[in-house]
């Protein structure tokens, strides 16, 4: 005789199962964010107090990492010259997905005090997708920490989708990158 006490559990569809796994993964991802710091500008001076005893980033599970393959966040602080933009794009494309970008200071937003320089790009958003900006020239350490907490909230709410945007609008990003950098034909043993 069949028991009437328990109803048969509803069969979950594949999308629902995937979403559940993704939520579990998001819990781990937002509690253990490893950063690759690309510090070209003066805002990098705000990171030592954020990492050491005063604000202690490690209590949120964050920490610096040595290589792009290991990192989750690409932290870009300060202005990007056209020369360093190429390296940022290489670095960003090497990172393993899901990956997030944090822009620190006003230079990645609109060029900051270098907005009229011929050697500097003004909006980082045109070249790689940015998830969180921390505005200010330069931002307080409190706002830097606040930016990281915001990123964690975005991961929880599933709005930190920069890396998906980069896959979907890849042509648009590539077009902007080429317009800024120009096409370079490299002659060496790896590119023949």
């Amino acid at each position: 005789m069949k028991s009437t006490k328990f109803t048969e559990p509803r069969k979950l569809s594949k999308e629902e199962v995937d979403r559940k796994w993704w939520e579990i993964g998001d819990f781990f991802r937002r509690n253990s964010l490893w950063m690759l710091m690309y510090c070209t500008g003066c805002c990098a001076i705000e990171l030592p107090p954020a990492m050491t005893a005063a604000y202690d980033m490690e209590r949120l599970g964050m920490g610096p990492m040595a290589t792009p393959r290991q990192a989750d966040i690409l932290l870009i602080s300060g202005y990007l010259s056209v020369k360093s933009l190429r390296r940022v794009i290489y670095t960003y494309e090497q990172m393993s997905e899901p990956k997030y970008v944090v822009g620190l200071g006003s230079c990645p937003i609109n060029g900051g005090i270098y907005h009229d320089s011929h050697a500097v790009i003004n909006q980082l958003d045109q070249y790689i997708p940015v998830d969180t900006y921390v505005a200010g020239c330069m931002p307080n350490t409190e706002s830097v920490m606040n930016g990281f907490v915001d990123l964690m909230e975005q991961i929880r709410n599933k709005t930190a989708k920069g890396w998906i945007k980069y896959q979907e609008n890849n042509e648009w990003y590539k077009k902007n990158q080429k317009a800024a950098l120009g096409e370079v034909i490299i002659h060496d043993e790896f590119h023949e």
Binding site: F28, A53, D56, E58, A66, T67, P68, R69, Q70, S96
Partner: protein, 301 residues
């Protein structure tokens, strides 16, 4: 036989959970030492599961296969490790030389995989790791062979039981110079601070791990935790008198690892030639002196 294998896998899993928790607690302790709040005690678990949840690129099948070989080799080594006098998966096979030979499988798997990535930093890291190994193995082997000569056993449980017998001291106390050599060699094995030349995040971008990300890095982290478990347990059984029950094992393990970590955190990093020179100068001298004193003169405390 099947039961033995299951117990062995249980030992490896126990080692992973134990070392990952103690590693997290140690991160907290170091944080408090530096007047920080420190991460959660289970932060290392979060890191490992996060890495396993990420997507990863591959650099060819040697790169992928080497990681699996490393993890499998280390789990196979951990299966032979005795935890207490009674909890041994393969009784009678917990010989010291089994660990020396089997741990090389894991290390070589990692070396193969890292070289397969084609990154020059990885090759430099692997070369440094093998050089460091060459440096600390010589004094460590001399001391362990002295212990084997004194006890007449090479099995870890038998050496532990020998030290627990009344009238015998722990070898850390019975062979004081040898104890210092053991601690220094253990720091080299674990890659703790003065001897962490092969990781060196600021210098060669974390050495062998430079091209790993996502799932492969997660597996290497699991492998690293189990390796640390094997090495610290070897020290506990050889120098600290083994363990009568599991609580004594936990206490000895925790104290050993925490002490080494605290020593590590007040030190800088040596260069690779300084590491080799250091090991071939003081620990080797102390090990040979201790061996002569203990075996030819019979002076054992």
């Amino acid at each position: 036989m099947l039961l033995n294998i299951l117990i062995g896998l249980g030992v490896a899993f126990f080692g992973f959970v134990l070392q990952t928790s103690i590693g997290g607690i140690n991160r907290k302790i170091v944080g408090r030492l530096q007047k920080r709040y420190g991460p959660k005690w289970y932060q290392e678990f979060l890191d490992i599961f996060k890495l396993l949840s990420k997507r990863a690129t591959s650099h060819g099948w040697i790169f992928d296969f080497g990681v699996i070989m490393a993890l499998g080799g280390i789990i196979a080594t951990a299966m032979f490790m005795p935890i207490t006098n009674n909890i041994v998966a393969f009784a009678g096979y917990d010989n010291f030389f089994i660990f020396v030979y089997l741990i090389a499988v894991g290390m070589l798997g990692m070396a193969m995989s890292a070289s397969g990535s084609g990154n020059p930093f990885a090759s430099i890291g692997v070369m440094r790791a093998l050089t460091t190994m060459l440096a600390y193995e010589v004094p460590f082997m001399i001391i362990v062979l002295t212990i084997i000569k004194l006890t007449g056993f090479s099995s870890l449980t038998e050496i532990g039981l020998f030290q627990q017998a009344s009238g015998n001291n722990w070898f850390l106390i019975a062979l004081p110079l040898g104890g210092i050599v053991g601690i220094l060699s253990l720091m080299g094995m674990l890659g703790k601070k003065p001897f962490e030349t092969y990781i060196a995040p600021a210098e060669i971008a974390s050495g062998p791990m430079v091209e790993y990300g996502g799932k492969q890095l997660g597996m290497l982290f699991i492998m690293h935790e189990i390796t640390v478990f094997i090495e610290v347990s070897l020290f506990v059984h050889l120098f600290l008198g083994g363990a009568e029950n599991i609580f004594i094992f936990l206490i000895k393990y925790f104290l050993t690892y925490t002490t080494l970590n605290l020593i590590s955190n007040v030190n800088g990093r040596l260069k690779i030639d300084q590491v080799v020179k250091f090991y071939y100068k003081w620990p080797l001298l102390m090990a040979v002196t201790q061996a002569i004193i203990a075996i030819y003169f019979g002076w054992v405390i």
